[in-house]
């Protein structure tokens, strides 16, 4: 398995880890009656995702953000791997992406500003560079 594909598998595992990290406190705060229910909007009540604590809300947004990042990263890995553009550079960018996305979660949960945004930018730039490496 190429290093990029290894990182892709690890990034998917990170995503699953983020699910657990988010859903455990969310279930504890909202109660399983609410989370297992159909989550219809109750009159006068905000949506379920807005009724959690600030920390859990951050974990939800961190998970949603990784969906966006991961779909772009997946494209980058696939294109690099299938077009034979894999190199030491693209492997380094893949690892950099993973490191940034791991750091992103505590940076968001602890509200470390502007570090969360900087870490996000590192992951985004690493993905863009992989895409460009496949094209040139």
């Amino acid at each position: 398995m190429s290093p990029e594909l290894t990182v892709l598998a690890l990034a998917a595992l990170l995503q699953m880890g983020q699910y657990v990290l988010m859903s455990v406190p969310a279930n504890m705060e909202l109660g399983t009656r609410a989370t297992l229910g159909p989550r219809d909007p109750a009159p006068g009540q905000p949506p379920l995702a807005e009724r959690v604590s600030p920390r859990t809300g951050r974990l939800i947004r961190a998970l949603d953000n990784h969906f966006e990042a991961l779909i772009l990263f997946t494209i980058a890995v696939v294109v690099v791997t299938l077009s034979g553009a894999s190199s030491g550079f693209t492997a380094a960018m893949a690892w950099l992406y993973l490191a940034a996305r791991v750091a992103y979660v505590p940076a968001y949960a602890l509200g470390l500003s502007p570090w969360r945004s900087l870490v996000w930018l590192v992951g985004f730039a690493a993905t863009a560079l992989m895409l460009l490496a496949a094209l040139v």
Binding site: I75, V78, V79, S83, S113, L135
Partner: protein, 129 residues
């Protein structure tokens, strides 16, 4: 660069990345850098062109989630031919048109571009079969 399906996939990935940057800068103008760098614990949302770009971005991401597997299936089955290339090119052009059509609120063109991209994707799946 526009003559093979994998390059088109890479170009589309970059286009979505550019859309994201445009959306983020539009949102930054409205809500301020301070809010974007914060933990956003109180939800604020943009309006107007920035909100349209946000919706266009999400639509582009869902289009990519359908387009990318179709290309991968064709690659894995060695199924690339002139039809799949044409469909991929139509997809890319349609999705490139889609974002400004949404941002500037061009009614009709946006839906037309979306449909062209969607049908091109469906054709790719049929070619994959």
């Amino acid at each position: 660069m526009f003559t093979d399906e994998l390059s088109i996939l890479a170009l589309y990935g970059l286009y979505v990345a550019i859309t994201l940057v445009l959306q983020a800068s539009g949102t930054m103008q409205q809500l301020g850098m301070g809010y974007l760098l914060s933990s956003r614990d109180e939800g604020r949302s943009a309006s107007g062109i920035a909100a349209r770009l946000e919706r266009a971005l999400w639509n582009s991401i869902s289009a990519m989630a359908l387009f990318a597997p179709a290309i991968l299936i064709l690659q894995a089955r060695d199924g690339f031919d002139e039809n799949s290339l044409l469909a991929a090119q139509v997809f890319l052009i349609a999705r490139v048109v889609y974002v400004p059509a949404y941002a500037f609120g061009i009614v009709g063109l946006r839906s037309l571009a979306w449909s062209a991209g969607f049908f091109a994707t469906i054709i790719l799946y049929f070619l994959g079969l």
